[in-house]
Amino acid sequence: MIAQLFGYLRDHSVALKWIFFAYLAFTLVFDFFAERHHAHFWGDHIIGFWTLFGIFGCLGMIVVFKGLSHVWLMKGEDYYDE
């Protein structure tokens, strides 16, 4: 039953995508209305700061860490077994 639900969702992934983008827009709008009492640092005052933080943080981490991995750290699973 649950499996069928997921299957259904998967088949309608295009719709899901649009809902997702709508949600992203919603978060930005919501930020306009959020109250900022206890601003702890400069970023708290900027609307959409966390949006940028989220997207660039995520992309940055993927690029940097995956890069490090490919360039240096990645080894076969039997590396220590020789």
């Binding site: 998967r10 966390w50 490090l68 750290l73 080894k75």
Partner: protein
């Protein structure tokens, strides 16, 4: 009085339970015992006095039971976790695995309740030795080797801790386990801190965790993810709040762990690295040291045990039913194991801090505490780690196991007890998210922070949403490959090879050489001297003296022939000689 206090200690139940398990197994009552013991302990912790179990040993005063709010919140979650773990592992027939788990939990509870360093050390070692069996019981070659490394690392950490305890006792002649003032910290205290940090998997001494946890048994890993590291967090919170080094290391930990979680392939290794990351939040909170930060650390410890265990349970179910845990070998399981998926996803969103989950009300407290304390850099690092958390564990992990490309793996849904365990943990995750006061009441300091503010919600919505966008854009780059990544354990893993080689080859050879020296030089030399002396004896003395000398030499000759074979005569001769001597001694 003494017997009374023994039964007051919740660890006693687990110790007795461990001993009774093989018999319960024979009597087919194992499952009952597995449920009864944690329930009893969970009940017991609500009725503990502030101090109990004080006794004397070799001139030291040991305190087995010291309870305050800090102790209580950890005891609460430990016993609850023991119950969930027991339920999850009900299907395991081998009582040895359960014995190891019970002893492990007993060690953790004992450490948490310890009021002095010696008691703490004893239970600390118990935890290490019991948990290694949870790794060894997997019985694969890699598991046995990983368990061995785990044990050595923990023994070393334990001995560093012991050295610190000794030195501290040297300095102040007091073994009480209390808070250490930041300015008054001595080398001894730092050694103790390092011992604690090793168990908390603080880099650079963290590599044992991602090495051993993926190699543990399915049920063993569920226990292990909860106890060792969180007990270490407790002792750090008790002894070292406010040490800035911890705050900085904690912040680095959070990103370090998440970095590896993003690039790893094995599901349980991802989760293991992620433990490093999440414990980083707690260590950081302890390091910041303000009431809010310590509250946050405790709250996060509580919540983390539940959702990390939930994640391990979910991934463990997959491992149990398919025999696989590597992301590149899995995919498309949503058709076969949907409930495991649901529970894992709940764990994933809880750990990412979605509103209405336990992560939202706990992790963010630490971030807020950093902000209140004006530690901007730390705050940003912790937030970055939150991004990475959602990315690696919230999205990547469930996606590549249950969705992604269909790997063709077919499996049945996991057993009822595994699902029940997951359900309880998932329930708690949501429950705490909706009703955080349940947890907040247990925290050591009064809670002034409110999670459900519009700003916090907005921040969370943005972070999570746009991290999701990031994943969506880069999903191809994140495709898992059957590779593993090097970490700091390279030094001692490669080093160990050298170490063992030196032990068996050069030093062994040197030792043999010395033995050879004995044989070639010493032995032959001695015999040559003996021969020369016997010549001297024969010719020289015989020539100088007579009679008795000849008798001595002849006797020696006789003795030589005796020595060549007739053992009975030899023994008889020796015995007679000895008896004669003793008779003389006694009678004269």
């Amino acid at each position: 009085m003494m017997s009374n206090t023994i039964f007051m200690h919740p660890a006693t139940y687990f110790l007795i339970g461990a001993v009774l398990l093989p018999f319960a197994n024979r009597l087919k009552l194992q499952k009952v015992l597995l449920l009864v013991v944690p329930l009893l302990a969970f009940y017991q912790i609500h009725h503990l006095p502030a101090s109990f179990g004080v006794c004397h040993f070799m001139g030291f005063e040991l305190t087995f039971g010291r309870v305050d709010k800090l102790t209580y919140v950890f005891l609460h979650v430990f016993t609850l976790m023991a119950l969930i773990g027991s339920i999850y592992g009900l299907h395991v027939k081998e009582s040895g695995q359960h014995m190891a788990a019970f002893l492990y939990v007993a060690g953790s509870l004992g450490t948490t309740l310890a009021g002095d360093y010696l008691t703490l050390f004893i239970f600390w070692e118990l935890m290490a030795f019991a948990s290694v069996f949870l790794v060894w019981y997997r019985k694969r070659k890699r598991s046995i080797e990983a368990g061995y490394r785990y044990l050595l690392v923990h023994t070393t950490g334990g001995l560093i801790l012991l050295a610190g305890i000794f030195l501290r006792y040297q300095n102040i002649h007091d073994l009480t386990f209390t808070r250490i003032a930041v300015d008054g910290a001595t080398t001894a205290d730092y050694l103790i801190m390092i011992g604690f940090m090793l168990n908390a998997a603080v880099p650079p001494i963290h590599a044992w965790l991602p090495d051993a946890y993926p190699e543990a048994t399915v049920t063993g890993a569920v226990y292990m993810c909860a106890f060792t590291t969180k007990t270490a967090v407790y002792v750090l919170a008790r002894g070292f709040p406010g040490f800035t080094a911890l705050a900085i290391l904690g912040a680095i930990m959070t990103v370090y762990g998440v970095a590896y979680a993003v690039i790893e392939n094995d599901a349980r290794r991802i989760l293991a690295y992620h433990i490093v990351s999440q414990v980083g939040y707690m260590v950081c909170g302890v390091g910041i040291g303000t009431a809010m930060a310590v509250n946050g650390a405790c709250a996060h410890a509580y919540a983390h045990i539940l959702y990390k265990a939930l994640l391990f349970m979910g991934v463990g179910s997959v491992l149990e039913m398919t025999g696989k845990s590597k992301l590149n070998e899995l995919g498309g399981l949503y058709k076969y194991m949907p409930w495991s998926l649901v529970f894992t996803v709940i764990g994933g969103i809880a750990i990412s801090g979605f509103p209405l989950t336990s992560g939202f009300i706990s992790k963010s407290m630490i971030i807020a505490a950093a902000g209140v304390d004006h530690r901007v850099f730390i705050m940003l690092m912790l937030s970055l780690a939150a991004v990475g958390t959602f990315l690696s564990v919230g999205i990547k992990l469930p996606y590549f196991i249950w969705f992604g490309n269909d790997s063709g793996v077919k499996a049945k849904e996991s057993y009822w007890n595994m699902q029940l365990g997951m359900f309880i943990a998932a329930f708690m995750c949501i429950f705490l998210g909706i009703y955080p006061e349940y947890l907040y009441k247990m925290l050591p300091y009064p809670v002034t922070w409110h999670p459900y503010t519009s700003y916090h919600l907005s921040e969370t919505f943005q972070l999570l949403g746009f991290t999701g966008l990031g994943f969506y854009l880069m999903v191809k780059k994140l495709k898992p490959e059957p590779k593993s990544n090097l970490d700091l354990d390279w030094f001692y893993r490669k080093g160990a090879r050298v170490f063992m080689w030196v032990a068996s080859k050069p030093i062994g050879a040197a030792n043999d050489w010395v033995g050879e020296v004995y044989r070639t030089v010493g032995y032959r030399f001695t015999l040559a001297v003996a021969r020369a002396l016997s010549w001297f004896d024969w010719e020289g003395i015989d020539w100088v003296l007579d009679g008795s000398a000849k008798g001595v030499v002849k006797g020696g000759d006789e003795l030589r022939t005796l020595q060549t074979g007739k053992i009975q005569h030899y023994i008889g001769g020796a015995a007679v000689a000895l008896c004669i001597v003793l008779i003389i001694v006694v009678l004269i």
